[in-house]
């Protein structure tokens, strides 16, 4: 089946242009080649049907008619050998540790600013910096409990960090569902190849959430707070709630009295202690943040401040998502941990630094420009693929508001064999591991591999024509 497959450009996950199939893909390659095209097609259709029937879907904003789409799933797994994964695990743990220390610092003494490591201006001007929470002690000093960090590989196969998602990262339900689908499609491969399981994620997540229960609560009531059934990640919210065996609530199910949170049940009000909220800061409490928010719970922030309820993630973590702050993460690692970053950043230029701005404006057709606070592939310029009008538009945007933009060289992302109609062809992939910070840091082996299904495209977001793959972390190296 994969005999025709060739490397077309850049780093290929499966093939080494000189040595052939990489050793950690060997067994899979052999077993997979044993399939006939008809067998493969049957498996592919069965998996697609199963996803649709189970309603493993996401919503696309601005698509009114039948807004649900099945997240396209590619049957060929991305495989990571044990040694490589250990390296990633160490790098991600180092990074989340530094980020949590950074958040604690800027919401308390602000030593890193006073020592001049990060210019004060950048933090105080960050859209998601919450002045209201300066000197507030979050439970157990953990700010980011659930983090999704996007990794890519350059042309030599080095892993680089593309961005940190420290607010409400999504996608973990696809990791679990993709695994279920592949286990059904290739039941005998798993044992023979030795793939590390991922299905304890919900238990680990619940443990992480219970770890921050308010003082004196022995058996906390934990809930998932969702924006509602029309949110693009609603499937994931219900999925996680079900897997953890806890209630999924909407803002209107909760209310606050005497700084305590209750949910409305058929037996009257019941207290709530820990909220895994999948709602951004802005919407969480109309008495504090956006006053027009219909999704939040009036008084929730006060209850949180009083220590009667804990939130994951904490309020104010969005500053770690800020793409300008990303630029400084290697400095944070150095400053707080006195270590060199294990996983480097992509080379980044800040538009608000005069020298960098000059470079960016002179080289726009070569660069990728990103707005500091957008995600999901929105608010982005891919210089080499953009029209002259788009480039001119971004030039104006950058000049008008330099603080809000960064630029990076175009990284070609690694590619992975992917089923494309009737052949296997290389498509670009990234990787989003999910990191939990509770009593200790745990990372689900692998994470979500997203794949840009359009030929040559580098945009992997589901809202922009991306799909996903199962990610296998091996027990060994081949």
């Amino acid at each position: 089946m994969l005999k025709q497959y060739q490397v077309n450009n850049g780093f290929d996950e499966m093939l080494d242009p000189k040595a052939g199939v990489r050793s950690h893909y060997d067994k899979f390659h052999q077993l997979f080649n044993g399939l006939t095209p008809a067998e493969f097609e049957a498996k592919r259709q069965a998996v697609d049907m199963a996803f649709l029937r189970q309603g493993v879907t996401f919503n696309v904003y601005g698509d009114a008619a039948g807004a649900e789409k099945v997240f396209p799933f590619d049957l060929l797994p991305r495989i990571i050998p044990a040694k490589e994964w250990e390296h990633l695990e160490r790098g991600l743990t180092q990074r989340i540790t530094a980020l949590n220390l950074f958040l604690h610092d800027i919401y308390h003494e602000q030593k890193i600013l006073k020592d001049g490591v990060i210019p004060e201006f950048y933090v105080l001007s960050a859209r998601h910096f919450r002045r209201e929470f300066v000197n507030f002690n979050v439970p157990k000093d953990i700010y980011i409990h659930i983090c999704g960090t996007d990794l890519i590989r350059d042309k030599d196969g080095n892993y680089l960090v593309l961005e940190d998602n420290g607010r409400c990262p999504s996608g973990v339900s696809y990791v679990l569902e993709n695994r279920r689908a592949l286990k059904r499609a290739f039941p005998n491969m798993f044992e023979r190849i030795g793939v590390r399981p991922v299905d304890n994620y919900p238990q680990e997540l619940l443990k992480t959430l219970k770890h921050i229960s308010p003082a004196g609560v022995a058996d906390p009531t934990v809930v998932v707070l969702t924006p509602g059934a029309y949110n693009s990640a609603y499937f994931e919210h219900t999925y996680l709630a079900r897997q953890m065996g806890i209630e999924i609530v909407e803002g209107r199910d909760l209310f606050v009295r005497d700084s305590r949170v209750f949910m409305r049940t058929t037996k009257g009000p019941q207290p709530v202690h820990v909220i895994y909220r999948r709602l951004d800061d802005d919407f969480i409490d109309p008495t504090v943040f956006r006053r027009d928010s219909m999704l939040g719970v009036p008084g929730l922030v006060q209850a949180y401040r009083s220590g009667n309820v804990s939130l994951a993630n904490s309020i104010g973590t969005g500053i770690a998502d800020d793409k300008v702050m990303y630029y400084f993460v290697p400095r944070m690692i150095k400053y707080y941990l006195d270590q060199e970053p294990i996983l480097p950043n992509v080379e980044t230029y800040l538009a608000s630094e005069e020298k960098d701005k000059k470079y960016i404006l002179e080289n726009l057709p070569k660069l990728v420009v990103k707005a500091a606070n957008e995600s999901g592939g929105y608010g982005m310029l891919m210089g080499p693929k953009a029209s002259k009008e788009e480039i001119d538009k971004f030039r104006e945007l950058i000049i008008a508001e330099p603080r809000n933009y960064i630029a990076q060289p175009m990284i070609n992302l690694s590619q992975h064999p992917t089923y494309c109609g009737n052949e296997f062809d290389g498509r670009h992939v990234d990787l989003r591991p999910f990191i939990l910070s509770g009593e200790r840091t745990t990372i689900i082996p692998g994470g979500l591999t997203r794949v840009a299904l359009r030929k040559g495209s580098l945009v992997v977001n589901s809202s922009q024509g991306g799909g996903s793959k199962d990610t296998w972390v091996l027990y060994g190296d081949e």
Partner: protein, 342 residues
């Protein structure tokens, strides 16, 4: 259990029951037309309009269709999404409610509901309908019954399940009473008709078939079709799972499982009203009902069922919400006080 969740389970079950009932009504009446010869246009309207009336959406229908032709009625009851109670709308609403409580229902149930949803949402559905309406209805009925069965056989029978039971039996009782009312124009206002024509007999047997009651009826009353026995069976049978009495008894039982209050007592309006209706049905006789007029009696039953639904909502689902602005004010007052005392 969250009130919102209870509410969604209630509506999920109710909409599925509704879809199945409407499928049966339209199916049976399409087949019935094959048996009635020489029906002029007026006769056709007289045949179809009561069916729209039975679903309680006459005003909505007349807005969309000036004439009650067979085509207009079936379109309205089966596909039209402007009709919130059409088969397609009901299945969409059932799924929408299930989606809200995806964590509370089983994979099997969700998959089947999803399958039915995708069936009615794709062009295949219309093609099946064009080729053979009865195959189409068969699919809707089979899908709905499968879902009802899965609700019984795979869901844990906890509080939420009992809310689903309340929804199912309220809807079923309501629909049976409405189907029974289909041919009230052929009855005298009070009392029993003096004679039954052959067409009448066909139409009353269609009523039985619309309630899946044909076989059960025959086993008790034999082949004789008379409005008196048909009504007795569909209203007062203790054992037939679609009779109004059976449904109300089950509804009452479900309400008591939810609250834990014994039969014969009540702690809220829903229990009080359900208990009363049970007693009326258990101690009523069909001759008294006909003496007072079947149509008026059924109207009253429907009103009482609505009141039970409303009372249940007020007891379990509706916990007074403050409007957002008011809630914000309450919070600000509380927070202000705390700041002063700190």
């Amino acid at each position: 259990m969250l009130s919102r969740v209870a509410h969604s389970l209630y509506w999920m079950a109710r909409y599925i029951e509704r879809a199945e009932n409407i499928a049966r009504i339209v199916d049976v009446n399409l087949q019935l037309l094959l048996d009635i010869r020489h029906l002029d246009e007026k006769g056709l309207v007289a045949h179809w309009l009561p069916i729209v009336q039975a679903t309680g959406d006459e005003a909505e229908f007349l807005k969309l269709h000036p004439h009650a032709t067979g085509h207009a009625v079936t379109e309205f009851l089966v596909f039209q999404t402007e009709n919130p109670n059409s088969i397609v709308s009901s299945i969409c609403s059932a799924r929408e409610n299930a989606r809200m409580v995806r964590d509370q229902i089983t994979l099997e149930l969700w998959e089947e509901l999803n399958r039915l949803y995708w069936f009615v949402k794709t062009p295949t559905a219309r093609q099946v309908w064009k080729d053979s309406p009865s195959d189409f209805f068969q699919q809707i009925k089979a899908g709905s019954l499968h879902i009802i069965g899965l609700t019984d056989a795979t869901l844990i029978h906890n509080e939420g399940w009992w809310f689903a039971q309340v929804g199912k039996f309220l809807e079923r009782a309501d629909k049976t009473s409405r189907i029974l009312d289909l041919r009230y124009k052929s009855l005298p206002e009070k009392g029993l008709p003096e004679s039954i024509t052959q067409t009448d007999a066909l139409e009353w047997s269609a009523i039985l078939r619309s309630c899946s009651a044909w076989d059960a009826y025959k086993s008790i009353y034999g082949g004789d079709i008379h409005p008196r026995t048909v009504a007795e069976f569909l209203l007062l049978s203790e054992d037939f799972p679609r009779s109004v009495e059976f449904c109300v008894v089950e509804l009452n039982r479900a309400l008591r499982y939810i609250s834990g209050v014994a039969e014969g007592k009540f702690t809220n309006d829903a229990e009080k009203l359900a208990g009363r209706l049970v007693a009326e049905l258990q101690f009523g006789t069909i001759d008294e009902i006909f003496e007072a007029g079947l149509h008026d009696y059924l109207d009253l039953v429907q009103l009482k069922l609505n009141n039970i639904g409303a009372a249940m909502f007020n007891t379990y689902i509706f916990q007074p919400f403050n409007p957002l602005e008011q809630e914000i004010m309450v919070q600000q007052e509380e927070q202000q006080q705390q700041k002063n005392t700190q």
